[in-house]
Chain length 97, copies 5
């Protein structure tokens, strides 16, 4: 998985039938020091994440292992909202601070 | 998923039997600010996208999760035409503008 | 899928039993403007491609979706010989020209 | 697989139901000479690795081939703690030294 | 698949139960001109490759398509020892020379 920040969402009406009702988020990838990278992914939202949230996303076939995404042409899913993480004993991010 | 622009198509008559009838699009990858990247993919068209359309494409095994591509040697599929998206509260792209 | 040029082949006698009889091609990756990239892949030949041919190859689990490669430790397959493609209305490559 | 060092962990309470109880590690990728790379992954811990441990992690669908991760939206798993490795006849790393 | 050179091996006793008895090789990736790249992978040995051997390895779910690796958290497998290959009509590598 990787850490990312939800920065927006995508609207698409002309799409594969299996994708109907899925919310598509624009996620900017962050590194383990919480620096934004020049990398993004469009991911299905499986946890009702909000804009600005730091999240975990999974890619590939693993992105289809949620109830929402099973059997769908979806290669990235936001499957957790991050509360906090630490690196080398230091707190890098704390949601509720 | 990633965002891309349909820039062309590929013709191939000598191909694996399971690929017959699939339309193959050349898609240039765009970033979340709608800048064209020096990256492309050839993807099966599952939504009758047109040249110039901004689309979403899925890769890997997820590319086989449409009726058209199931069980086929296809690792990229265009599964949505993008209407619009926003980043950090600003509209980046609007199809009908 | 990506476009590549068949530049050679690999011989390997000491190999996994399931790979016997498969032809292994060295494919140099090309971009959508037909420029050779500093990237290559060794792919199983599913369409009797010849040296010099421009081809499409699929990677990952999709590479096992041909009769030849099903159930085999193969992560790249040449599944089409390209006749032609166009980008932004211009013909980039034409096999028979 | 790749080698990495466990540098921290991630806490997430709002997450997909299937992920409950899994421990999420922040792993910094190392190269074969044991140099830390500017690359990281968040991986499920399948072997009770500790902070500072050098570990092996697997990605993609292979990350779901442990009892803990089967059928879960997990695309990276720590499945071994490294004791030692050598490159070109020289010992690069020895845990118990 | 990609070409690599077996440069070492990894020892790990604390590991997922399904991995027991598998030999883990350190493989340095080579390009099609046989130049060593600054890239490596740890792969399960399915063909009793020796140190120094040039080999083919497969990644992703395809790495689980050998008898040894089926159903295991393994995302890279050495499934062939390379005898020789050629690029543009010239022999790049010959094992027995």
């Amino acid at each position: 998985m990787q850490i990312g920040r939800v920065v927006g969402s995508v609207v698409a009406t002309q799409k594969d039938a299996r994708l109907t009702t899925l919310k598509l988020l624009v996620v900017q990838v962050h590194d383990h020091e919480n620096r934004a990278l020049e990398q993004y992914v469009v991911a299905v939202d499986a946890v009702q994440a909000g804009t600005g949230d730091l999240v975990l996303f999974a890619t590939g076939s693993s992105a289809r292992q949620t109830e929402l995404t099973e059997g769908k042409p979806c290669d990235a899913v936001v499957m957790a909202v991050v509360d906090s993480w630490d690196v080398d004993g230091k707190n890098v991010y704390e949601k509720w601070r």
